[in-house]
Symmetry: C2
Subunit: 352 residues, 2 copies
């Protein structure tokens, strides 16, 4: 039976299919690993495990606020970005998404028995503003990846402001999932843009997961209006952020050197990978601003190609769970040069 | 303004009221701390932080199943017991609780816009079976602490089976919050009792939080029917259990010596504390099977007494958030002998 792959990173499921250690190209994590002193910081503060985390996450919010450049009273934190995004379902009537997008957006709406509407991006993965305008209703929750997963594209600044004005006028709410924000070459910062609006009707959600290389620890955070902080804090399950995520979040944002190095490293590897991949026949390589690359298979099926990569020891991401993409797209991470060379070798061996 | 105290463990809020380190008697954590090798185990496996936790928590569930004495396919895990209990709201029509009880039960129902009905325990904190029987409806979710917080009492075995039969007949669902299970002197084990029923219409939820002394790590688990495992696993936010909770849960249950020592220690301190407290005028000391003691203030208000304990450096638990208890009850933890002696000294100084 063909299995839909809803998430990356699940190497355990495939471990018996390859003799040796599988290399994960299905989840998109900073290849430089965690900030250098993370382990030491957690060890230093290990005894916090014997107490409940601060019920209000005061120190954590202070650190996040400083990093994001917003007031502490605008900060929400969560057990991964998904917990925060999930909470918005509790205050919306209907969820509106554009496909292809992270499948959890509409799935969580379903879990909460909310109505949801999945519109489509245009063929070039830009937003059909007319269609969006025709569909936004009062109390809608519009969730947009920015940059979007799996396309790797970001909403242009003017368009984003246009969408926001529309959302506000209609009394709807816009959630930007910016989990991959730091990987994007410097451009605009949504948190700066919407500061003057007091983040009314908009939530900008980010995460330590990907850029800070720690998906295991579960730390999401975001910037919303002060009123929305109170609503979300009340709705979240108490102590949902664990003590180690709390410690990590008080420290990682000060690691300026690691942050700059990671940005530069990914920028370089992204260019390298895109250039190399574009030379391979049978593939259409989408541009990307992030640390993953969406690839269209001109002649082949995701399942076959997935199995071939497995034989070479790589787990890649099949993309049919992103719905409109059908079964002829794959997504791969951008990792360190050594592994990138290895997977490029596999790309050159496989007949597309 | 008088502030309702919804949860214990929030020392930060009171830190400016006392010169010195506050001692927490408001949350009920094993005074022996975590199992001895927890820190080493987490360090050994620190690199798991750079990957997503196993999306299916296969090893963790295996360990929990072995400890609980149930099949792996009956095991659910969560970001603390509360995440699991919260998920049941998504599949119920109405939540039914008995007061006094942990305030989150009805609060989470409210968050999910569910109807809820709060009945009362009898004056001696036993269950009014007739009233319960008169009120259970199809698709109700009945949540009972067993032992109950803050009363420290457990449902007698025969009564529990009676309640279960009733719940099943009415096509409702019973959740037993057994977060304090291990502190209770050996008696019946709900997981054994309901094995023959395949855990249909019943969920037994426990946690590493209290007994294993690690509220910071957030690890809850439980035993439910195989069908319910699938439902809850689908409804939970993906990767809600962090990698360190995952590691801890694969190791702590093998620490037999720590487990036995903790049980014996608490049993001894419980007896000591109860005996000492019963000699103090102005207090009514409820019996307890757990590691906390509910106390009725015959002549005084929780707020005044709370402030007096603060002056001695202790944060105790005010109980008015448990609703029916009014403002003349406090709850204190049972900790190590040294601290217990200290708080008993304070008890002897304060005029009740």
């Amino acid at each position: 039976m063909k299995k839909i792959m809803k998430h990356g990173g699940d190497l355990l499921t495939y471990k018996d299919k390859f003799h040796g250690e599988l290399i994960d190209y299905s989840s998109n994590i900073n290849p430089l690993g965690t900030p250098p002193n993370l382990e030491a910081k957690i060890m230093e503060n290990f005894s916090t495990v014997t107490s409940y985390p601060d019920i209000k996450y005061r120190e954590l919010k202070k650190s996040v606020g400083k990093y994001l450049g917003c007031e502490i009273s605008n900060v929400v934190v969560g057990n991964g970005a998904m917990e925060i995004i999930d909470l918005f379902n509790l205050i919306s009537k209907r969820v509106l998404t554009l496909s292809p997008a992270f499948s959890e957006y509409s799935f969580r709406a379903k879990i909460h028995n909310k109505e949801y509407l999945e519109l489509k991006y245009k063929e070039d993965f830009t937003i059909d503003m007319e269609e969006l305008e025709a569909n936004i209703r009062k109390d809608d929750l519009i969730i947009l990846g920015n940059p979007n997963n799996p396309t790797g594209m970001r909403i242009p600044k003017d368009e984003l402001i246009g969408i926001y004005e529309l959302v506000k006028m209609r009394e709807a709410y816009l959630v930007l999932d910016e989990a991959f924000f730091e990987f994007v070459p410097e451009d605009y910062d949504s948190i700066e843009i919407f500061r003057e609006y007091g983040y009314e009707n908009i939530g900008i959600i980010r995460a330590a997961t990907k850029f800070f290389g720690m998906p295991g620890i579960r730390l999401g955070y975001g910037c919303v209006s002060k009123e929305m902080v109170e609503i979300l804090d009340e709705k979240a399950v108490t102590w949902s952020v664990n003590c180690f995520a709390d410690i990590a979040g008080r420290y990682i944002f000060d690691e300026k050197e690691y942050i700059e190095k990671s940005k530069a490293y990914i920028a370089c590897e992204r260019e390298f990978m895109l250039k190399q991949l574009k030379d391979i026949d049978g593939l259409y390589i989408y541009n990307t601003l992030t640390n993953y690359i969406l690839i269209k298979l001109k002649n082949r099926d995701e399942e076959e190609v997935f199995e071939e990569f497995l034989k070479y020891g790589f787990v890649i991401r099949k993309c049919s769970s992103f719905k409109v993409l059908g079964d002829n797209h794959i997504r791969i991470a951008i990792k360190d040069r050594e592994n990138n060379m290895k997977i490029l070798d596999a790309f050159k061996q496989i007949k597309f």
